[in-house]
């Protein structure tokens, strides 16, 4: 549940895997926020933001951002680059990337066979 009292059913998630992840957090009564902050990563010559990154989840009690990606490993180079940049610019920010394999393992752990359908092939 978000700090505003929203449940996962009331948040418009970009991907069904995010809704599944939020359901697990709700089940274990872990407070979360969905894309609460956008980090500016690069700027053009005029100072306009040319690249930014909004991690999917923030767990306020853990002060931890979580980026959930279900893309295949070979396709997440850009995301890794953004995470590296974020860590350079905001070293005080704790962020964790849960990749496709992590997500599938979590689904197995919680006995959910919907892992593949949530990820997409």
């Amino acid at each position: 549940m978000t700090e505003d009292g929203e449940t996962q059913a009331e948040v418009a998630f970009a991907h069904p895997s995010e809704a599944a992840f939020a359901r697990i957090l709700d089940f274990y009564q872990v407070a979360w926020e969905y894309e609460p902050r956008t980090f500016e990563l690069r700027w053009d010559d005029e100072g306009n933001v040319s690249e930014a990154f909004s991690p999917d989840f923030y767990l306020p009690e853990q002060d931890l951002y979580i980026e959930l990606t279900t893309m295949e490993q070979r396709l997440i180079t850009k995301k890794h680059r953004k995470l590296r940049r974020l860590r350079e610019l905001y070293p005080e920010v704790n962020i964790k990337l849960l990749n496709r394999s992590d997500f599938k393992q979590m689904m197995f752990k919680y006995g959910l066979d919907e892992g593949d359908s949530l990820i997409g092939q």
Binding site: Q29, Q62, Y110, G111, L112
Partner: protein, 188 residues
């Protein structure tokens, strides 16, 4: 009594990750350490059913101090409507732990979600102290930091079964720990 031999198990389990000997050696070390740390104290050892069963039985017998034993059970997250909703205890403590030292014992800590919930529930009982012990500690997907006083083994990022750990309730009774591929099992 002879050990169960690996050839009697289905072929879908992988190589042995920890042998019985490796497990028992480490459990004995943990038992000795805990006995030393809690010597003369009133200790209640609490496990959460049911993966911890084998580890807890061995750990308790490796302790050289008198302890009380209790178990919790929780409804874990699962695929059905009944297992969605909110986590809850399906079995609470029988022992009174207020004012006593409590050691919470887990089979494996992965995300930390379950352990975090149980530690919060145990704190509500107002123990004199509360520490955690895990047979296996897998940190790759850790979401909630857990302060572990005792760890059997830190393990890398792969799925293991045996010695209490299951895949869909199977393989708990393997006396050692093996690597397991859930993808392959799901296909088969």
């Amino acid at each position: 009594m002879d050990s169960i031999v690996s050839s009697s198990w289905p072929g879908d389990i992988g190589p042995i990750f920890l042998t019985e000997e490796q497990i028992q050696r480490r459990v004995a070390e943990l038992g000795a350490q805990i006995s030393q740390d809690y010597a003369g104290q009133d200790l209640v050892v609490v496990g959460v059913l049911k993966g911890v069963l084998f580890f807890m039985a061995d750990l308790l017998r490796a302790m050289a101090i008198p302890v009380a034993v209790d178990f919790l059970a929780i409804a874990r997250y699962g695929p059905t409507d009944e297992t969605h909703g909110v986590v809850r205890l399906t079995k609470d403590l029988n022992e009174t732990v207020a004012g006593r030292h409590v050691l919470f014992v887990e089979d494996i800590i992965d995300t930390g979600l379950t352990t975090n919930f149980i530690m919060r529930a145990l704190r509500l009982h107002e123990p004199l102290s509360l520490k955690a012990c895990a047979f296996l500690n897998r940190t790759r997907r850790r979401l909630i930091d857990i302060d572990l006083a005792y760890v059997g083994f830190d393990i890398p990022d792969f799925y293991v079964v045996g010695y209490g750990l299951d895949y869909r309730e199977r393989y708990r009774n393997l006396p050692y720990l093996v690597v397991f591929d859930p993808d392959q099992a799901a296909e088969g």
